[in-house]
């Protein structure tokens, strides 16, 4: 565990973030204007929750393709309950969060009790949740969002910090505490590292898998709810484009896809890097269609670097000397 700080997961992304801020800020001073920082933080807050939602599943060595579908379902439930049933927003948000937790829980139970790969289960549930979303909304958005929700989704509490930063920071601290300080979190990483060994050392692998999927569903739902406030309407398409991002940020943050190794700080920096790169394309009038190419390129680059670090670490540990 005692790695020097420049070998830790977050160091590489941190240097890149710092360099990007300095370079972009010098070339285009409007990048560091309070308004632009507010815009960036809004994007980062929501995207961080999307990334955390995938990160917790990567930690147990699985994948969750239904992150976007759960987020979208929670988003339209939140907006729909306020518009159609006139629910007060905190109740609607609570119920929508519950829906997300349940959707994640269902994924976890199916994966844990059938032994079918999480890929297939979440591909099926992606389709089910998205279908329910479309069935309810018939692809029409909910427009009547209370003003307070719109305000919470866009305004700042201390200039230039938007309200949305608060749930994001709380989730980051909570996840860090869970993964580094709580027995449950250590079990999650242990299951990801070696499922069989964890089982033998008395960890209930099934329970851990179910809990991780439930947390993932809850985080995705929170991201969806926040996005309703930010977009000021309940779009049925919320979540459609989350898949690539949800993998990009954790991987940039040093997560190993086979499980057992994730970094909350690294993932957060991954989200910041993606947000800066995306904005650079806009600031310098580069075709925004290239965002997808940049995201894909970042994933390839990051998995390449992680692989190289893994091989180097093994070589140092002498495991490769056969």
């Amino acid at each position: 565990m005692s790695t020097r700080f420049w070998e830790s997961d977050w160091f590489g992304p941190f240097v890149i973030t710092l360099a990007a801020i300095i370079v972009v800020g010098t070339l285009n001073p409007s990048f560091l204007s309070p308004f632009n920082i507010q815009v960036l933080l809004l994007a980062i807050s929501v995207n961080a929750l999307i990334a955390f939602s995938q990160m917790i599943i990567i930690a147990i060595g699985q994948m969750n393709l239904s992150v976007g579908a759960i987020g979208g379902l929670a988003a339209i439930s939140f907006a729909g309950m306020m518009q159609v049933w006139g629910m007060p927003w905190p109740v609607a948000a609570g119920v929508a969060l519950g829906i997300g937790l349940l959707a994640g829980l269902a994924n976890g139970v199916l994966v844990a009790f059938t032994g079918i790969s999480a890929f297939v289960i979440t591909l099926a549930s992606l389709s089910i949740y998205k279908g329910v979303n479309l069935g309810i909304t018939e692809a029409q958005p909910f427009y009547e969002i209370p003003d307070i929700v719109k305000s919470l989704g866009n305004d700042t509490f201390i200039h230039p910090l938007p309200w949305l930063v608060i749930p994001c920071v709380l989730a980051a601290i909570g996840l860090w505490y869970l993964l580094n300080r709580l027995p449950l979190g250590r079990s999650i990483l242990a299951v990801g590292g070696n499922e069989h060994a964890s089982e033998l050392s008395g960890i209930s692998v099934r329970l851990v898998v179910i809990v991780a999927h439930a947390i993932s569903g809850g985080l995705a739902a929170l991201a969806g709810i926040m996005l309703v406030g930010r977009l000021q309407l309940g779009q049925p398409t919320i979540g459609d484009d989350w898949l690539i991002l949800s993998f990009a940020a954790p991987v940039i943050g040093g997560a190993i896809l086979s499980g057992g190794h994730v970094s909350v700080g690294g993932t957060l920096l991954g989200v910041i890097i993606v947000a800066i790169f995306t904005q650079v394309l806009v600031l310098f009038n580069i075709d925004p269609f290239l965002v997808q190419v940049v995201l894909g390129g970042l994933i390839l680059w990051a998995v390449g670097v992680n692989r190289w670090r893994e091989v180097r670490a093994q070589r140092r540990a002498g495991q490769v000397q056969i």
Binding site: S258, D287, I299
Partner: protein, 352 residues
């Protein structure tokens, strides 16, 4: 102690013999085996649902409905094949949709902007499919990383470059001969696209059953290390499978162009994600193991056909077009659960 060892060894040997003799002589169980096979189950489901749909809505058996069903199934089966040939190596290809659209768009470009005759344009599109598949394969074998994350990244890259180059605009100047092909009716109910799919299915069956190359693909998927030790160039096989996947995705994309009369960037949805479910439904329903090494071309064909038929039938019964996706998801879940039960039953009866 030595006796003990010998005793154990002979026991193990006896067990082994018992197992092999059971495996070699299952003709007594052969009917049960056929009845419990994936392909037979799918056939039963297809007949069952066709009967139900035809009873509820006679329009299901109308000439046009059957023609449309065959034409849609042709594309879905091809998408299923495109995923199947990668699944047999134990990998995945999330970029099938992105490759399919890129290949179709390139053909559209060749036909509209360069006025190329359609056979050349089709060859060009398929070449793009093969090239993009090769890029996937080469990155996967060079880095040793799982195909999931690589093809997730390339899905984003291929689609992004395609949108950047085409400015998200369609090519509508498609050769009339080519679009006529997609609208032609043989004997008033059969689409030539379905014939293309059947020819490809026969080709794939021959490849996996009778050629050394096909057997080497399967061996690579079953046990990479063992395949390597028996002299198979594993890395090359994986790259070939990804190239084949790219070509088949290109064929599916071109079929859509031929059917709609235009090459449209959004024909597989955002990043080509809309193809993912049909791509996995066919092979998974058809009994192709996700861990690799086992393939059923007929199963994939029947699986994709069943999915297309269910979609068409549900739309015809007006259960609400928006709910169809939910039913397909439930079907995938149901299929993998049934497969689990079936497999454990066969294992208990020692039929596998």
């Amino acid at each position: 102690m030595a006796i003990d060892v010998r005793h154990n060894q002979s026991d193990a040997f006896k067990d082994m013999m018992a197992n092999t003799s059971q495996q070699d002589a299952p003709p007594r169980f052969s009917i049960t085996r056929i009845l419990l096979s994936n392909e037979f189950g799918l056939l039963v489901l297809i007949v069952l649902f066709a009967t139900i749909f035809a009873t509820i809505s006679p329009a299901f058996l109308s000439k046009f409905s059957l023609y449309a069903l065959g034409r849609t199934a042709a594309v879905n089966i091809m998408i299923g094949f495109s995923m199947m040939v990668v699944i047999i190596t134990g990998g995945l290809n999330l970029s099938v949709g992105a490759i399919g659209v890129s290949a179709a768009m390139f053909s559209g470009l060749l036909m509209e902007s360069f006025g190329m005759p359609w056979p050349l344009a089709v060859a060009g599109g398929l070449a793009v499919g093969a090239a993009l598949g090769a890029i996937n394969g080469i990155i996967i074998v060079r880095t040793g990383l799982h195909s999931f994350i690589i093809t997730l990244a390339t899905m984003s890259i291929f689609f992004g470059i395609m949108i950047f180059l085409t400015h998200a605009e369609s090519y509508r100047g498609i050769s009339p001969v080519f679009t006529g092909f997609g609208r032609m009716k043989l004997f008033s109910i059969i689409s030539p696209l379905l014939l293309v799919t059947i020819v490809v299915a026969l080709g794939l069956s021959v490849l996996f059953r009778f050629t050394a190359l096909g057997r080497e693909f399967l061996a690579t998927g079953a046990n990479e290390r063992a395949a390597e030790l028996s002299g198979i160039r594993v890395q090359r096989m994986i790259t070939y499978c990804h190239m084949l996947s790219g070509v088949l995705a290109g064929v599916a994309g071109l079929m859509l162009v031929s059917r709609t009369g235009a090459a449209i960037p959004s024909m597989a949805g955002q990043l080509g994600q809309d193809w993912l479910l049909p791509a996995f439904l066919g092979p998974v329903l058809g009994g192709t193991l996700l861990t690799g090494g086992r393939v059923s071309v007929l199963g994939t064909l029947l699986g994709s056909f069943l999915v297309t038929m269910l979609t068409t039938g549900l739309l015809l019964m007006q259960v609400g077009a928006f709910w169809v996706q939910t039913y397909l998801g439930l079907l995938l879940l149901f299929a993998v659960l049934v497969d689990l039960v079936r497999r454990s039953y066969l294992q208990r009866r020692k039929l596998i």
